[in-house]
């Protein structure tokens, strides 16, 4: 429904003076967001070391992002992290919320606080703590060695230095951080689902699974959209965790695009390429979040 666009303005429609009111905010937005984006796109078309005069490179930086095995690997790792940061936390949060919505849990506020706590801690502090947890003599390995003495195989290892397990290890830190966010969002959502729906479902003989699918999940669609968006963005822009724990290693096992942007800009002097990575990452974030919101809304339309 678009309003008719005639000469006479319908009552209540915005007047041009509205622009004046938003001008200060727009100026700040333009100076600190729009302009840097334009500059970033502009730099990405040059081969530039950040110091001298850049030379026009056309789209060759983007071609490198698409063809360079190490950079493609970095984007691949980012997508793996989306699973650990977004998909697994949301699934875990659903299980927790489903349990909570069926029974009365004592000390719910306490558990909610504990699970949400990682969200409040600065990511760098989280990273330092987990680096210690995963270190060869850290608590994780201590626990695994304890299991070993009880007769299980020895699973202890240097987690962050293991080529196959470093990325999942970093990802699990993300899961630990994001599950609280998803759960708090879902808990808030569940509280607005009318109790009668659950009662009706139970009268109809629905078990826990059917009840979850028919009542809880449809009621949480919006919250799911929000949670997936926030956590996926956190996964894709992950820099601090990798910077502190692994610096992209071992080898290139935990390289992610955001870390590469930093590395190429400040350590190897490939500013043009770094900008191309940044722009590509921004496009990826945009596409993914657009996809998620379309998914969340699309299902609502079908319901």
């Amino acid at each position: 429904m678009t309003p008719p666009r005639g000469k006479g303005r319908p009552p209540g429609a915005p007047r041009n003076i509205g622009w004046l009111y938003v001008l200060p905010a727009l100026l700040v937005y333009a100076a600190f967001l729009v302009w840097p984006v334009i500059r970033g796109v502009w730099f990405s078309l040059y081969e530039w070391d950040g110091l001298g005069t850049g030379t026009w490179a056309g789209l060759s930086n983007y071609a490198r992002v698409a063809t360079d095995a190490s950079l493609r690997g970095a984007f691949g790792h980012a997508l793996v992290l989306v699973v650990f940061y977004a998909v697994i936390p949301c699934l875990l949060a659903f299980v927790l919320v489903a349990a909570v919505s069926r029974t009365r849990v004592r000390g719910l506020a306490f558990f909610r606080t504990v699970l949400f706590l990682p969200q409040v801690i600065a990511m760098v502090a989280v990273a330092v703590a987990w680096q210690w947890m995963y270190s060869p003599d850290g608590p994780v390995n201590g626990f695994l060695r304890l299991l070993h003495t009880l007769g299980l195989p020895d699973w202890s290892r240097g987690w962050l230095g293991d080529f196959d397990l470093a990325l999942p290890a970093v990802g699990l830190v993300g899961t630990w951080v994001e599950v609280g966010l998803a759960m708090v969002l879902f808990l808030a959502g569940v509280q607005k689902i009318p109790r009668e729906l659950y009662e009706a479902a139970r009268i109809d003989g629905a078990g826990p699974v059917a009840e979850f699918r028919a009542v809880t999940l449809p009621g949480l669609r919006r919250e799911l959209g929000v949670a997936l968006t926030l956590t996926s963005v956190a996964a894709l822009r992950n820099f601090d965790l990798v910077y502190v724990t692994t610096k992209g290693g071992p080898g290139e096992a935990t390289k992610v695009p955001a870390y590469e942007v930093y590395h190429r800009t400040f350590e190897t002097g490939e500013v043009g390429l770094a900008c191309a990575i940044g722009v590509t990452l921004a496009a990826l974030v945009f596409a993914l979040t657009a996809g998620i919101s379309r998914l969340a809304e699309g299902r609502r339309g079908a319901a």
Binding site: Y46, G50, F163, K247, G249, P250, T268, G269
Partner: protein, 453 residues
């Protein structure tokens, strides 16, 4: 696309695109002028006549002994020349790396900066015309006579920033650093081994340590750089200093040459035989000396930058030596260099005062200050001797290496991306996931790509 909103978004995108294209008309970073060359005759060495000057100096000497050293030197300079005020801006090494690029390309850079050696820092700064050639000042102050050639080479680069080791001098360093072998004296006595005199004896000692249930080498390689340094020490013994220098400075040779592959094979063997700790790739570099001091490691191959820390933890139980040469009594060879050089920026308004300052902090008296504050001076100090046992070992090793011209450059000077391009494969090598041949091929690939550019 079916609503006006869609059309508006399109329009917005088009406007943004047009703006970007308009901006693209000029290249980023344009307008950098090369500094005019100075003649020795126009250089004034009389700082007192310069009037009131504020000299802004960016350094990264923030750790204990180094901080005391530079503070003492700055105070002495200001006492000697009351008309000069030094505005010292101290940053950690990593912070300096990040901010220096922006500061140098800005309109009002500091007068004196510590610009790291290598292509990714000094090479690029010189290419962009941001540092002043010290050649005319050298002719006045005679710095290249004060320093051995190997050390001034490290701080020299050609104007295109492509060739380290030739071209003009762009900076001077205060302290020396070498990678050598630390050993735990108690542990050596326990396994009944004397400090090795030859490379074979060293490897024999590693084997003995292993057979006695000790950890032969303390090694943490999370950051990739330690692996490159360990490789470099082995390579120095197998390949020889001249070939290593030629290779690093791009003057000939290949990383896939026989001895270079053998050095990688040696690392792989050490890892397989359990001479390196099992989870080396998961151990932080900073934690290595801590583990070593706790007795987890009979030997540790590491830089002199750990000495003060190790002395605090182990006192006279720790010893240091240059990597033992293959033949007994031959001059030792190892990787090393000098601390970050002090350079003058091209836009400095007081280049003569800056040059006098650099001359002052690298003078013989300054080398005494270096020893007093617990550092390894880059040049032999005229009067002072270190008091701590391990510092005495280090001073002796540095002296032997300087006399025998045995210092080879750090391998990561080879290309700006070498830290990852070679450090990554080396991590795979010690994890047993790749072969020596393939690791060296990866290094060679990065090397040829850089040389072709």
């Amino acid at each position: 696309m079916q609503t006006p909103v869609g059309r508006r978004t399109l329009l917005g995108t088009a406007v943004l695109g047009a703006a970007a294209l308009a901006a693209a008309a000029c290249a980023p970073g344009g307008g950098g002028d090369r500094p005019a060359a100075r003649t020795p005759a126009s250089v004034s060495t009389d700082v007192a006549k310069a009037g009131n000057v504020t000299l802004t100096v960016w350094d990264q000497e923030v750790q204990g002994g180094q901080r005391r050293q530079i503070e003492k030197l700055n105070a002495a300079f200001q006492t000697k020349y009351p008309n000069v005020r030094i505005n010292r801006v101290a940053r950690s090494f990593t912070d300096l790396q990040k901010t220096l690029r922006l500061a140098l390309s800005g309109g009002n850079p500091p007068d004196v900066v510590q610009a790291n050696q290598g292509y990714a820092a000094m090479g690029q700064f010189v290419k962009a015309g941001m540092l002043l050639s010290l050649k005319p000042y050298d002719q006045v102050y005679g710095w290249t006579k004060r320093y051995p050639k190997g050390l001034t080479d490290l701080n020299s680069v050609t104007p295109d920033g492509r060739s380290i080791g030739s071209g003009d001098l762009y900076g001077l360093s205060l302290n020396g650093e070498i990678v050598g072998v630390y050993y735990n004296k108690d542990k050596l006595a326990e396994i009944g081994v004397q400090p090795p005199k030859t490379w074979d004896e060293f490897e024999q000692a590693l084997a003995t340590a292993k057979s006695r249930g000790e950890q032969p080498l303390a090694f943490g390689n999370l950051e990739k750089l330690p692996g490159i340094q360990l490789y470099g020490v082995v390579q120095d013994q197998l390949t020889g200093k001249d070939k290593v220098r030629d290779l690093v400075f791009g003057r000939g040779g290949a990383w896939t040459d026989g001895p270079n592959v053998q050095a990688a094979q040696k690392l792989a063997d050490w890892a397989r035989q359990g001479y390196l700790n099992k989870d080396a790739n998961a151990v932080k570099w900073d934690d290595t000396p801590v583990d070593f001091a706790r007795g987890r490691g009979v030997f540790m191959i590491g830089g002199t930058w750990w000495a003060a820390d190790l002395h605090d933890r182990m006192k006279d139980r720790v010893g240091f030596m240059a990597p033992p040469p293959r033949q007994a009594g031959a001059p030792p060879t190892t990787m090393g260099g000098e601390s970050l050089p002090f350079s003058i920026t091209a836009k400095s308004r007081h280049p003569d005062v800056a040059a006098a300052y650099i001359n002052f902090i690298t003078s013989p008296e300054a080398m005494d200050v270096s020893v007093e504050t617990g550092n390894l001076p880059v040049l032999k100090p005229p009067t002072r001797q270190p008091a701590e046992p391990v510092m005495k070992d280090i001073a002796a090793a540095w002296d032997a290496l300087s006399r025998g011209d045995g210092i080879t450059p750090y391998l990561d000077y080879a290309t700006p991306t070498f830290g990852d391009a070679f450090g990554g494969p080396l991590q795979e090598l010690v994890a047993g996931r790749t072969t020596a041949d393939r690791a060296m091929q990866a290094a060679q690939k990065d090397y040829t790509t850089f040389l072709k550019k």
